[in-house]
C-alpha cells in the first residue's frame, strides 16, 4: 500500500517537473526580480501597490516586493542572503547604511552603471541637491536610486501654546526662544514641554548641518574612509549643555532612542517635539487637538545658520546575486525599468502626497504645489521648504553624512546622551566619549574595507 502510493507520487512528481521544464522552454516568461523593503504598514502596502502597478503596466518584467522587517533587519537579511549567494535584486536601504553599501562595491551595481548598461534613462539633474548628494559617489554619479526621503521638523500642540499664552501660529525660530516658550509652558502646568525623537539624527546630525559645522572630517566622510568625528566643537557643546540643563530644569524630556518618542506628542504628553517629517501621518491619525508643523530651530548668532536640513529615509540598491556575481541581462533590464517607473512624475507625486515623504524633484514639488495640495494640507510643505533653506546650495557640512558603521555610531552618541541626562557627565565629556568611541568604529570599518 505504502509502496504503491510512493511510486504514484514519484511518477506524478516526474510528470510535473517535465511539464514545468517544457513550459519554461516554450514561453520564456517575464524576468522576475526580488525586491526587499523595510516599510511596515500602511507605507509598505503603498509601496507594494507601486510594484503591482508596474507589473500590470507591461508583461516583460515582474517585481516581487516583500517586507523583510524594519530597515535594520532588511539590511542584515540582504547581507546574509548575499553571503549565501541568494541576494535580492533590489533592496531598500536606510540612509545610515549608505556608506556600508558603497564600500562593498562588489556586492552592488551602482545605478549609473546599471542605466548605462541597459540603456534606460532617468534624469537625476532635477533631483533635490540634498537627496542627490546623499546617494552619489564623490564624482557625482549616482550610486543608488533615491526613493523615500524624509527630513525632520518640529511639531507642536497649539492648544497647549494657547494655554500658556503663546501665539499658536508662531513657533519659536531659535533655541533660546524655544527654551523661553518651554518655561512658559511649564509655568502653565504642562509637565513636559518638549522632547525629541531620533536624538542623534535630530540633535547632532541635523543640528550640525543647519549650523554649517562638520560632523566628521573629510567632508563628513564623503572624502574617504579615514574620516574622524568632529562633533567635539564649541557650538555642539553649547547645544548639548543646554539640553542637559533643560533636562535638569524639566523643560526637556528624553523620550528614548530612535523613534521611541514619536507617540508622546499625539498622546498629549508633550507640547513640542522634533521628529521625522514622516511622523505627520501618525499625528494626523492620533492627535485629538490642534497642532502645527514648523522648521527646526537654530542659534541665530552662529554665522551661516540656518542652512538646509539633511535627509533620512531610504534608497534602493541594485545588488549582485552573491560574491561570484551572476545576474542575467534580462534581470538587470528589469531592475532598471522598475527604477525608471519609480521616477515617473505621477508615480513620484502620488507617493509624496500619500505618504508625506519628500518630493524628490523640484519639478515634482512645483507640480504638487500647482494642484493646491499644500493649501489643503497646511504644513505639508514645511519639510521641503526646509530642505531648500539657505538657498538650496549645499555646503560640505549640509550635504549629508557618509560614515561606515554609522548605525553603531548613532547608538554610541545616544548612549552618551543618556549618561549625560542621568547626570553622570557634562556636555564636554559626552562629546569626548562619543568621539573616542565613534572613532574606534570608524577605524574598524576602514580596516575591514581597505581591501
Amino acid at each position: 500500500m505504502l509502496r504503491r502510493t510512493l511510486a504514484k507520487g514519484a511518477a506524478a512528481l516526474t510528470t510535473a517537473m517535465a511539464l514545468r521544464g517544457r513550459q519554461a522552454a516554450a514561453q520564456q516568461g517575464p524576468a522576475e526580480i526580488q525586491f526587499w523593503h523595510g516599510l511596515a504598514q500602511p507605507l509598505g502596502g503603498m509601496l507594494e501597490q507601486i510594484a503591482a502597478d508596474f507589473n500590470a503596466s507591461q508583461s516583460r518584467f515582474r517585481v516581487n516586493a516583500s517586507y523583510r522587517g524594519g530597515y535594520a533587519e532588511t539590511m542584515v537579511a540582504a547581507i546574509a542572503a548575499f553571503r549565501a549567494n541568494n541576494a535580492p535584486h533590489v533592496v531598500q536601504m536606510f540612509e545610515v547604511g549608505t556608506a556600508t553599501m558603497m564600500a562593498a562595491s562588489r556586492a552592488t551595481k551602482p545605478v549609473w552603471e546599471l542605466l548605462q548598461q541597459t540603456g534606460v534613462r532617468i534624469d537625476f539633474e532635477d533631483v533635490l541637491a540634498g537627496v542627490r548628494g546623499y546617494y552619489s559617489l564623490p564624482d557625482g554619479r549616482m550610486a543608488s536610486m533615491p526613493f523615500n526621503s524624509s527630513t525632520s521638523v518640529a511639531f507642536y500642540n497649539k492648544d497647549m501654546f494657547r494655554k500658556a499664552g503663546l501665539d499658536p501660529e508662531v513657533f519659536p525660530t531659535t533655541w533660546p526662544a524655544v527654551a523661553e516658550a518651554a518655561r512658559k509652558l511649564k509655568a502653565a502646568g504642562i509637565a513636559n514641554p518638549m522632547t525629541t525623537s531620533w536624538p542623534t539624527w535630530l540633535m547632532v546630525e541635523q543640528f550640525s548641518a543647519i549650523h554649517d559645522i562638520p560632523l566628521a572630517t573629510k567632508g563628513n566622510g564623503f572624502g574617504g574612509l579615514d574620516a574622524e568625528l568632529a562633533i567635539n566643537n564649541p557650538v555642539m557643546a553649547r547645544h548639548m549643555q543646554n539640553l542637559i540643563d533643560w533636562h535638569k530644569e524639566g523643560l526637556f524630556r528624553y523620550g528614548g532612542r530612535d523613534n521611541a518618542a514619536d507617540g508622546l506628542l499625539p498622546a498629549g504628553e508633550v507640547a513640542m517635539t522634533f521628529a521625522s517629517s514622516g511622523t505627520r501621518a501618525r499625528i494626523l491619525r492620533e492627535a485629538r487637538f490642534d497642532w502645527g508643523t514648523a522648521m527646526l530651530p537654530y542659534y541665530d548668532d552662529v554665522p551661516k545658520a540656518p542652512l538646509n536640513s539633511i535627509i533620512g529615509g531610504a534608497s534602493l540598491w541594485a545588488m549582485n546575486k552573491g560574491p561570484s556575481g551572476g545576474r542575467s541581462e534580462a534581470e538587470w533590464q528589469a531592475v532598471a525599468e522598475f527604477f525608471a517607473w519609480l521616477a515617473k512624475p505621477d508615480v513620484a507625486a502620488k507617493w509624496h502626497t500619500d505618504t508625506g515623504y519628500l518630493p524628490l524633484t523640484r519639478s515634482g514639488y512645483e507640480r504638487v504645489k500647482a494642484t493646491g495640495f499644500y493649501k489643503e494640507n497646511v504644513g505639508a510643505d514645511i519639510p521641503i521648504e526646509q530642505m531648500l533653506r539657505g538657498g538650496g546650495t549645499l555646503t560640505e557640512n549640509s550635504r549629508g553624512i557618509r560614515l561606515g558603521g554609522f548605525v553603531e555610531i548613532r547608538n554610541i552618541i545616544q548612549e552618551e546622551m543618556e549618561r549625560a541626562f542621568q547626570g553622570q557627565q557634562d556636555a564636554k565629556t559626552l562629546l569626548e566619549n562619543a568621539t573616542r568611541r565613534g572613532n574606534v568604529v570608524l577605524r574598524n570599518f576602514e580596516r575591514a574595507n581597505r581591501g
Binding site: Q424, R447, A448
Partner: protein
Amino acid sequence: MRKNVIFRGKLLPLLLLSPQLAITIVFFFWPAGQAIWSSLLREDAFGLSRQFVGLENFAEVLADPTWRGAAGNTAIFAFSVAILAISAALLLAVQADKSIRGSGAYKTLLIWPYAVAPAIAAVLWLFLFHPQIGLIGRALNAAQIAWDYRLNGGQAMLLVIIASAWKQVSYNFIFFLAGLQSIPRSVLEAAAIDGARPMRRFWTVVFPLLSPTTFFLLTVNLVYAFFDTFGVIHALTQGGPAKATETLIYKVYVDGVENLNLGASAAQSVILMAIVIAMTAVQFRFIERKVHY
C-alpha cells in the same frame, strides 16, 4: 547492581546513536566550530574581504571597557535573577504544599507564567511599568517618585531582573513542589514529635532535603539568565539606557547583528561559551559535594 547490555558488532549501536549525533553535530559542533573560526578573522559585513588576525579579536574584546561593563552587568543580573526566582519559588511552593482549600487552582495559576514567551512577558511588564502608559509607572510618578527606566540605569536593571525572574519562578516552583512532596511525612512527623516548631522543621529538615533540587535549579537559573533572557531585555530596554542592561549575550547580538562586526561578535560568543562551560563544571565539581543527597 547495574546491568550492562552489550551489543554485538559496531553497526547497530552506531545506527541507534546516529540521529542524536547528527543533531548534535549539525546544531552544535558545526556552528560552534564556525564561531571559533570567525573569531580568528576580521571581515567586512558582506564577506568580500577577510583577513586572518589570530587572537586579535579576543585581545580587543577583553580590553574593551564596554565588554567589561557587560560582564559586570551579567554577573549582577544572573545572580539576582537566580536568587530572586529561587527564593520566590521556594516560598510559594512551601505555601502551596500546605493543605489549603483550592491549592490545585493556586498551583495551576503559578505554573502559567512559564508558558508565556519571553518577549510577551516583557511587554506585560512594560504595560505595568512604562512611565507614561504603565499602571504602576504612572502611579509611581503621580506619587512624586521619579520613575523612568528608560533613563535611569538602576531602575532599568531592576525591571529586567524582575521580569526575567518572574518568568522563571514557575519552573522553579514545579521542581520545589515535586521536591517537597517527595520528602517522607514520617521524617517531618518525627521532628514534630521531638518538639521542632515549623520554622525549625523547615530549616533543619526540609531545606537540607531540598538541597539537590536547589542546586539543580541554581545551575539551570544561571544558564537561563545568561542565555534565555535576550527576549526580555530586547523588548524592554534594548540594553539601555547607556548600556546599563547590556548583558554578554545581548552584546553578542548588538555587535554581530546590528553592528555587523562579525569577528568581535564571534570572539565574544566563544568567550561566553567558555564561561558557561567553566561555570557548570565548577558547580558540579565543587558545590555538588556539599549537597546532601
